[in-house]
Symmetry: C2
Subunit: 346 residues, 2 copies
C-alpha cells in the first residue's frame, strides 16, 4: 500500500539514484546492496533495503543489460506452439534454463518465415544470451548471420548442414523406416504417406526413410503414395482423409503413415466419421507420440521421440556454448522408437 512509485515528483519510476538519496548513501552502495550484499554493513544495507521498498524500486533491466552487455535470458522460437510436441520440447528447455538461473522467452513462428525473421531480429536486438530454434528452414542465411554477429544459436529438431551450429535431432529417416517396416510386417502392400509441405525437412526425411524401407522390402515403387498437405494440423489431416476417400476403391491404400500425430488424429477422425474401421479398413501410424495419441478414438500407433530430452539437451549445449570458451559445435542425434497400438494392430 505504501509502496507506490507515485511519490516521485514527475511520473518517473524510482531509480537507484532516488534510492541512494533517500537512504543517504552513494549509487555505488545501492548497487552493492543489489549485487554483493556481503560487502555492505548490516545497518547500511537495511537502510537501503527500506528505501527500496518505500519507493517501490524496480531495477531497470535495460540499463543493467546495457552496462553488462548480457541478459541472462535464452529464447526458444517454436515452429508451432499449438503442437504439443513443441511444448514438450519447450518444457525440457525451460527446466534446464531454470536450473541454470536463466530466464526463457518463448516465441512462436507459426511456421511462417516472416514471423520467424521478425522474432529473431527482435531477440538479437534484445541481446538475449542465446537462441534455440526449430526453424522453418535450417539453411536460412539469417541463422548463420546471427551466429556470426555474436549470438549463439542451437537448432532443435533439425540437422544443420554446415556444422556452424550445435544441433539436436532425432533420426527422422530411421523414424520413417521403422514406421514403414511395421506396416510391411503387418502385410500392407499399398500405403500412403501423408504430410507436408515437403519444404519441411522433417517431412522429407521421414518420407525418405519410408521410401528406402519400402524399396528394400521389394514392393512396387508406385504403391507408396505421397499425399501432400499444406500444413501439419488436425484440420489438414481431415482434408487428407477426404482425398483418400475420393480415390477409386482399388487404388486406395490399406494403411497410412502420417508425418505427425496432429495429421494422424485429424485423418483418424475423418475416417471414423465416415464409418470406416481402423485398422481393419485403414491402418494408421502417426509420428511424435504426443500425449493425445494414446487416448485417441483408436489408440494411435506412433513413432515416439524423446521430446523433453531433446529440449533439455539443446539447452545444455547452448549453456555450454555461452560459458565454455573453447566450445566445439556438436550434433546430437536421438533415436526414435515405434510404439505400436490399436490403430495398426487391430
Amino acid at each position: 500500500m505504501s509502496t507506490t512509485s507515485r511519490t516521485l515528483p514527475n511520473g518517473r519510476r524510482p531509480s537507484v539514484k532516488d534510492v541512494a538519496e533517500l537512504a543517504q548513501v552513494s549509487l555505488g552502495t545501492v548497487s552493492n546492496v543489489l549485487n554483493r550484499p556481503a560487502r555492505v554493513s548490516t545497518g547500511t544495507r537495511e537502510r537501503v533495503e527500506k528505501a527500496m521498498s518505500d519507493l517501490g524500486f524496480v531495477l531497470n533491466e535495460s540499463a543493467r543489460q546495457l552496462r553488462m552487455g548480457r541478459s541472462n535470458t535464452f529464447a526458444y522460437v517454436m515452429l508451432d506452439a499449438t503442437n504439443p510436441f513443441f511444448n514438450d520440447v519447450g518444457r525440457g528447455i525451460e527446466l534446464a534454463a531454470e536450473e541454470a538461473d536463466l530466464s526463457l522467452f518463448l516465441c512462436n513462428s507459426d511456421g511462417r518465415s516472416a514471423r520467424e525473421a521478425a522474432h529473431l531480429e527482435h531477440l538479437q536486438q534484445q541481446r538475449v544470451d542465446g537462441i534455440l530454434i526449430t526453424p522453418v528452414d535450417p539453411d536460412e542465411p539469417q541463422l548463420r548471420r546471427i551466429v556470426q554477429q555474436g549470438t549463439p544459436l542451437v537448432i532443435v529438431d533439425r540437422a544443420n548442414t554446415s556444422g556452424q551450429f550445435c544441433s539436436v535431432t532425432v533420426d527422422d529417416r530411421l523414424g520413417g523406416r521403422v514406421a514403414i517396416e511395421h506396416l510391411v510386417d503387418r502385410g500392407h502392400t499399398r500405403v500412403a504417406y501423408v504430410g507436408g509441405p515437403s519444404t519441411m525437412g522433417q517431412v522429407r526425411d521421414r518420407y525418405e526413410g519410408a521410401r528406402a524401407a519400402w524399396d528394400e522390402a521389394g514392393l512396387a515403387e508406385s504403391d507408396l503414395l505421397h499425399v501432400e498437405t499444406t500444413t501439419m494440423s488436425v484440420e489438414e489431416g481431415r482434408v487428407a482423409g477426404e482425398r483418400l476417400a475420393g480415390l477409386p476403391r482399388r487404388s486406395r491404400p490399406s494403411a497410412v503413415f502420417c508425418a505427425n500425430d496432429l495429421v494422424a488424429l485429424g485423418l483418424l477422425q475423418q475416417v471414423i466419421s465416415t464409418g470406416q474401421r481402423v485398422p481393419e479398413d485403414l491402418a494408421i501410424v502417426g509420428y511424435d507420440d504426443i500425449a493425445f495419441a494414446a487416448g485417441a478414438a483408436v489408440p494411435l500407433t506412433s513413432v515416439r521421440q524423446p521430446r523433453q530430452a531433446l529440449g533439455r539437451t539443446a539447452a545444455e549445449l547452448l549453456i555450454e556454448e555461452t560459458t565454455e570458451p573453447d566450445h566445439e559445435h556438436q550434433q546430437v542425434e536421438f533415436t526414435p522408437e515405434l510404439i505400436a497400438r490399436t490403430s495398426t494392430l487391430g
Copy 2:
C-alpha cells in the same frame, strides 16, 4: 559473408557510433536513418545503410529502451503451456499483438506461484509495456503491486475481485451449471465432479455452478461427489479414474464432470482400458473443448469456451489501457456453451 561484427578492434559489437564514423556522418543522422528515414537525403541514407550492413550492425534494444522508457512488448504468463486451451488463448493474444506491431513474449508459470513470481519480477524489470496473465491466484498481492508500480496488467480467464485490473473471463459457474443440467437431463442421479486443486478459482467456480444446478434439480446433496485431483493433467485424470473404480459398486457414479478436458481425456483412457463402456457404464463431460476432445476414443462432450476471442479481447483491453489516457478498467465476461458428443449421448 562480409557482414561480420569481428571487424571491430576488440570483440565489441558495432554501435551507431561505429556506423557514423564509417559513413562519415554524425550520430544523430544514423539515428534518423533508423527512425525517420524521410528526413535524410538519399545519398546520405544509402551511405549509412551500406555502413550498417558492412559492419553487421544490430541495434541495441536495451539502449533504445533505456532512452525511450518503453519496449513495445507485451508478455503473456501462461498457467500451463502444455494445455492446448492456453495455447489457443495465447494465439488470440499473439494475433492482436502482431496487428498492433507489438512483440509478445510467452512465459509459463506451470501452475507454480514461485515460477510465476519470478517471471513477473523479470518482466517488470524488463519494462514490458504490459502483462497478460492467467494467474495461479488472482488475489496475489504482487499483481496489484505491479500495477501500482506502473505496468498495466490484464487478467485472463479469472475474475478480479478488486476492480483494479481489466479482466476477461468466461462464466465458469454457468459452465458448471450447463454441464450438470445436461447430465441431469440424461437421467443421471449420481455424479462425480473431478478436478483440483480447489485453490484454483476455475475449479471452485465450476463446482459451485454444478452444485447449484444439482441442488435445484432436487437431487440428494451427497450424490454429487467431489473427487479432488492435485493438478489438471491427463495423468491425474487416469489416477482419478482408478479411484472411482475403487469405489464399492453401488456408490459408484454413473457420470463424471471433469474440470477440464485433459483430466477428462485421462479419465476416459483409464475407464476404457478397464473394459468399461462410455457412456453406457460411465458418461463423461469435459471442459474447454480443446481440439483433441472431438477426436478422443469416445468423442467428448465438453463445455466450450471462446478461447481465441478470450486472448484477443484481453490483448485489446491491454492495448487500450496502454494508449488511452482516460482508460477505465473493464470486466469482460464470455458465455460458455455445451457441446454434446458421444461421451454422454451414447
